[in-house]
Symmetry: C2
Subunit: 422 residues, 2 copies
């Protein structure tokens, strides 16, 4: 299905004017970057590239899209849109990579007209998926080695939910509740039961027995429908010493985890795990670090970017051919400066292998020894395992200043070799 209409009308009206004046086929370079991170954030995690490859491949309008565009552009521009053209060259940071203000996370080398048609879709995908991955990465750091489950599908648009499950997995979550994310992207899925299941039975014991009958004693029983202490006792009576886990979804979680662990141990269920859910964000997860919680479920805050539901990427024309040469261009109005010209990005490291910064080269400059190149061709198909591994490696090389959850400033900023640190 064509993705041609998943765009802003002005991309088409600009194209229309450009076709009329012969500008549409002029070579041009666009870059996506963020001017700043969301307030308080110290780094970002880029995600969405694995979805973007096929979405961009489908951006060519089909007959139905051309019909819909009849009222938007001239017949000449419809003909331009219907013609075959080479696909734009798209470079991007690998999926799962960290980024900083100024990082040129995606570069499109194409023509002025074709570049316009990618803008909105590139930004929609990167802004959404990276907002989720960036929040998820903070939760992953806060959770340490404890597994995190994504269960926020119901808090966001039904298709965003699928992409959010995928982005959280890239950032290090272990699994999702979303079945479509399992089918479409291969994300592991999990799920056992909700309060409705307990409420549908005359007693909690009946509900637990039915669940154990269907799912085995290794299942997770939700114990807080009526009274948590009684719920745990009933769970152990019904499932026995091999009960897999109990889930706590309400109350003062810090207190509830301590009580649940003590009670389970006193009943002999020392191997029964404790899953904690209930609107957890990175701060709540960090607050549970010294409890005996075994794993966490996060919903609303991960799918809505934990206070930053969009990553703030913009997509700007940075160079265009004029009189046979590529010329850097940039907006100059107040508060929204951009840096003209195509950039090549390298991450720099200290002797311990921690990130020290990010260099942007524009000419024939040679990157310093040990600097890591960040841009590569956008893969046409997704490799979710590679993205997840990339994210884990990039989180491991973050400087300590980036790992703090407290509000702060960006741990580094991507800058030209000629710029002074600000």
């Amino acid at each position: 299905m064509s993705t041609a209409l998943l765009t802003d009308r002005y991309e088409l009206t600009m194209l229309d004017a450009a076709v009329r004046e012969g500008l549409a086929d002029r070579p041009a370079v666009y870059e996506a970057f963020s001017r700043r991170l969301p307030p308080g954030r110290r780094f970002g995690v880029l995600a969405g590239q694995g979805r973007l490859g096929s979405l961009l491949a489908d951006v060519v309008p089909g007959p139905e899209e051309l019909e819909a565009l009849r009222d938007v552009v001239s017949p000449e521009t419809l003909a331009w849109l219907a013609a075959d053209r080479p696909a734009p060259e798209v470079l991007a940071y690998p999926e799962g990579e960290t980024y900083a203000p100024g990082s040129p996370v995606l570069t499109v080398a194409t023509t002025f007209g074709q570049g316009l048609l990618l803008e909105t879709l590139v930004l929609s995908v990167l802004n959404h998926d990276s907002a989720v991955a960036s929040a998820a990465a903070r939760m992953v750091l806060a959770a340490g080695h404890r597994p995190l489950l994504e269960m926020g599908s119901r808090r966001t648009h039904e298709q965003s939910a699928v992409a959010a499950a995928r982005a959280a997995y890239v950032a290090g979550f272990s699994a999702t509740s979303n079945l479509e994310a399992g089918r479409r992207h291969g994300v592991p899925t999990v799920g056992t039961s909700a309060h409705a299941f307990t409420l549908a039975h005359a007693t909690e014991a009946e509900a637990f027995a039915a669940q154990v009958e269907a799912q085995g004693v290794g299942t997770t029983l939700l114990v807080d429908t009526y009274d948590t202490e009684q719920g745990i006792r009933t769970a152990v009576e019904v499932a026995g010493p091999d009960l897999g886990a109990v889930r706590l979804d309400s109350g003062d979680l810090h207190e509830e985890v301590h009580r649940a662990r003590a009670l389970l141990d006193s009943l002999g269920n020392t191997r029964t795990r404790i899953v904690v859910t209930s609107d957890l964000d990175e701060h709540a997860i960090a607050g549970l670090a010294h409890t005996q919680a075994d794993s966490y479920g996060a919903g609303t805050s991960v799918v809505t970017g934990s206070g930053a539901p969009t990553a703030g990427f913009v997509y700007k024309l940075v160079a265009i051919e004029r009189d046979g040469a590529m010329v850097p261009v940039a907006k100059r109005s107040s508060g929204k400066r951009s840096l003209g010209g195509r950039k090549t990005a390298f991450r720099t490291y200290d002797d311990a292998g921690r990130v020290t910064g990010e260099l942007l080269l524009q000419g024939g400059e040679v990157p310093p020894d040990g600097a890591r190149p960040l841009q590569q061709p956008l893969p046409p198909v997704e490799d979710l395992a590679a993205a997840r591994a990339r994210c884990a490696a990039s989180l491991a090389e973050l400087p300590d200043s980036a790992r703090l959850l407290e509000p702060g400033t960006a741990a580094w900023t991507a800058r030209l070799t000629t710029e002074e640190p600000s």
Copy 2:
């Protein structure tokens, strides 16, 4: 295409247990409601029902979905899923209606098993679309009679963008930049040009001339790429006295609008309008009320719910048949109480026609004279014009306390006739 997998895995594992024990076909009632509004909000606007009708009609799994569910449920449950069943009875508040904490905005009268399969999808759609509509409605109130344009597609998931454009239109926005929202839902679309278009030309004058050539002098010229004052002078020189509008997208907007109006008037362009964009939210829009801005574009804040990206609806089993009679059920654990039993909702009014509250009836009680019933069958197809009219009418009947933008508490709460106001 089936929407059966746009759901949480636990809905299916609960169904599986219920099928095995013969509970799946037991008559049951579920309700969607919010326990509280997002922090500081005084009312909400419900949206998404027009999308939900067809999404719920497609929730029956097809062969591919049944194949994908083979690892999730037993063969017996697969057979249950493949069998024909009457569609659930779904009642909802009309799209565009306002709501309060406790409003039973959607009611599903069905069986225990079928009700499970709707939960995640119902919540995804209502939580997303209502978050956008609720934020949009505050912007509409702040803008007064000035038109609002939705242009946030690039700040949210590519499919959320389409739904967000639709929800903002329901709430009273005049148009969207999103072309797919135009095709799929009939929302009016607008768009002229961006900074890239100016940057692609050797001079601003060349860019403006090309745009006027393609779109006519009635177009909107973006005047802040280099220097706004010079941009306005150039726009007037190129387009003449009938230039439609100038767009301001940066700087101190309050100041910029004053300067632009004075300059346009001094140049004789008294009819040229001023469109203000640049990350506007309801507070920024209210702050521009006393300027001579003519219309506003809102992006990030409308599509992300202006600080509240999800509406907070939950979906709960409220009654189930037991021993031949429907029995109310509700969770009792701390902090997340629900109200058992199926509810019928009526809005009440003062003599001036302003909302005073919302009554929930559970038995054979008679609603007070003049109370308006809020629930109706979920329409199978959308009627966007009706939703937009419903929202305008419901916003007009809000009490003054609900119309304030300052953080406050819910203007009313839906409550049982037997409950005391809290």
